[in-house]
Structure formats: structure tokens, C-alpha cells
Symmetry: C2
């Protein structure tokens, strides 16, 4: 089970913590998510694309109403997402991707992607959508865009439980750090499928 | 402030309640959401379209780790969604809509749709996506599909804070109850924009 939003139980010794997404961003490998969010904001500002991160799926068990105009969720659990994290529209086309970071310098473990997320990406691809993965090797400071067809071909041809860094270097596209937007993944999409 | 997932504070006298989505479905006007979910499931089963409801956006404040493999959200709040509830892919095209129920027999109050949701639908429309509203008048048992262009034209031409039922009867499309799928909204989309 993966914990969404970078929450890593193992690294937390306190029984109760205050959830702070900024803290998460700095210390818990949330940088890619943060950078994608501001990049998507920028794409919206310049009216290029409307792509959003989906909210983290949560199963709500108990709700409190401490006062007239307040609703507090008192018990809820993270659930496994049915789809990928990001989707939206670009040039009239449906776009869909999953973004992941890894600390590894050698390979991206396939346990990072749920089987139904792979199934979802496959369905989007079959139906003419633009589907891909964005994978960041944080220790190497290398961020790749891997189109879903290449990802699926890899999965068909191997029994391995991970994708080696060399596969990314050969079959995926390096996304260089930018300023505005920070992670200009649509530039790669333009080159691949033709854009504005 | 609207409470997502049909939670209506006003109708709840207990300070703490157990959240039960089935109960919600039966007693709190969640039928349309439930029916759309099973309709979307059916569309996926027959490989027609991949359209999902987005998770309800929640701001997490406190998380507990009562044991090694458990993560419990102990304090969280509903937040206003940035986008609409449903999106996905149909015939390679991006599809996006919001679904709402009303008890009124005469009009649909515009307070049901947040201004940034209207802005979002407008952006999707401008960028070539298929965008619409599904509005159910539960007391009349009438469910309408209102394309976003007609909705936006209405908003431009009126100062009213609601859309009268007659506007739906004249400008929107009645979706008849079905069996499989329960709410066959893509049939209307096929008629309007051309489908398989």
C-alpha cells in the first residue's frame, strides 16, 4: 500500500502529527507534485491547457458538526486511486498521466504504479488520448516523460519488477528544469503529437 | 457553502453521525450521483468511454498512525472543488460535466454551481472539449442534459439567479431513465456531436 501525498508512515515517529503540505514538499519528496501543480497553473494562466491533479481519494467514515456552519471529518482513510493523478484537456485532446518520484539511482520500481492505473493508461491510449508517465529520479535530478506505448511494450517484454534508468535514457524524454513553467512537459508532447 | 456528497448539515440533528453513502443515496438526494457512477461503470464495461467522478476535495489537517500499517485521518475539511465532478475520454475527445439535483419544481438555482466551475466549463468548451451540465428535478423525475454553450448564453442574457424549468424543457435534452446504462447521457452526446 502506498500512502498518497508523500505520507510515509515509517519515517514518522510521533503518534499524531500535524499535516503540513509545505513540510511534505520540502522533506518528503513532494517536489515533483508541487512543481507539476505550479506548471499546470501556468498553463492555465497562458490559456494553453487545462490540466488538474485529482483530489486524493478518501473514504470518509465519521463526520462531526460542532456548530451550525462547520463540518469536520473526524475519521477517514486513504484509498487506492482508480485512475491516474492528472488529467485534462490540451488542444481539444484528452490528456492523462501519472507522476512519480524515486530515490533510486538505478531503476524505477513498478510497485509505484498500481495495476489498475496501468489498465487505465492502456484504456486511454486505446481510445486516442495522450497518456504517459512522468518519472523523476531525485538523486540524479533527472525527470523523464515516458509515453504509455513504450511503457506498455516494456511491461509485455519483461518479467522485471522495475524499469532501469537506461531504459528511460533511451526510450523516454528528458524534461529539463525550467522557470515558467517549471516542468514543461507539454513541450515534449508538442514535439511528439503536434501541438500549437 | 455547499456540502459535497449530499451531506446536509441542516437536516442532521446529531452532533456526530456515521457516514454511510448508501443511506445518503436513499435519503439525501444522492441518486443522480449513484446512477451516474453505475452508468459510467457500464460505459467502461462495454469499452465505450472512460469517465470517472473525481474524489471529493478535502483539506487534511491531522493524521494519526495508530499502528505500523494504519493511517487514519483525524481532522479534515471539505473544500470547494476547482473543477467539475466528472471528466474523462469519449471517442478520443475530452468530456467534462457537472451533475446536480434539485428539489424545486420550477427552477434550478445557480448557487448550485460555483463560479469557478462555470469558468472551468467555459475553458473546456473554448478548447474543444465536450462540456455540459446534467440537472435532475427530483420532484418532477426529469433529468436534463444542458450543453455548456446554451448554459453560457443563458447566463449572459439574464440577471436571474436561477434557470426556470421551461428553459430546460426548451433548450436542454431530456434523458429518459434506462436500465443499462441507467442514465444514458452519451446517447444524447452522440446525437449532438456525433459518436460511434
Amino acid at each position: 500500500m502506498n500512502y498518497p501525498n508523500g505520507i510515509k508512515k515509517e519515517t514518522n515517529n510521533k503518534k499524531t502529527m500535524t499535516y503540513d503540505s509545505n513540510l511534505s514538499n520540502k522533506n518528503r519528496g513532494m517536489t515533483l507534485e508541487y512543481e507539476l501543480n505550479i506548471s499546470n497553473e501556468y498553463y492555465r494562466e497562458i490559456d494553453k491547457a487545462y490540466i488538474y491533479k485529482k483530489p486524493t481519494p478518501i473514504k470518509i467514515v465519521k463526520v462531526d458538526y460542532p456548530s451550525r456552519d462547520k463540518t469536520v471529518i473526524k475519521e477517514a482513510y486513504f484509498t487506492i486511486p482508480s485512475t491516474t493523478d492528472y488529467n485534462g484537456i490540451y488542444n481539444g485532446k484528452y490528456i492523462d498521466f501519472e507522476a512519480k518520484e524515486t530515490q533510486s539511482k538505478t531503476a524505477f520500481a513498478l510497485t509505484n504504479i498500481h495495476p489498475h492505473q496501468i489498465e487505465h493508461l492502456k484504456n486511454i491510449y486505446r481510445h486516442g488520448g495522450i497518456a504517459f508517465l512522468i518519472v523523476r529520479f531525485t538523486s540524479l535530478n533527472e525527470t523523464y516523460l515516458l509515453m504509455v506505448d513504450k511503457f506498455l511494450t516494456y511491461l509485455e517484454r519483461t518479467e522485471r519488477k522495475s524499469i532501469p534508468i537506461n531504459f528511460f535514457r533511451e526510450q523516454a524524454y528528458l524534461i529539463k528544469d525550467g522557470y515558467k513553467p517549471r516542468v514543461d512537459y507539454l513541450k515534449k508532447i508538442d514535439e511528439l503529437v503536434g501541438g500549437k
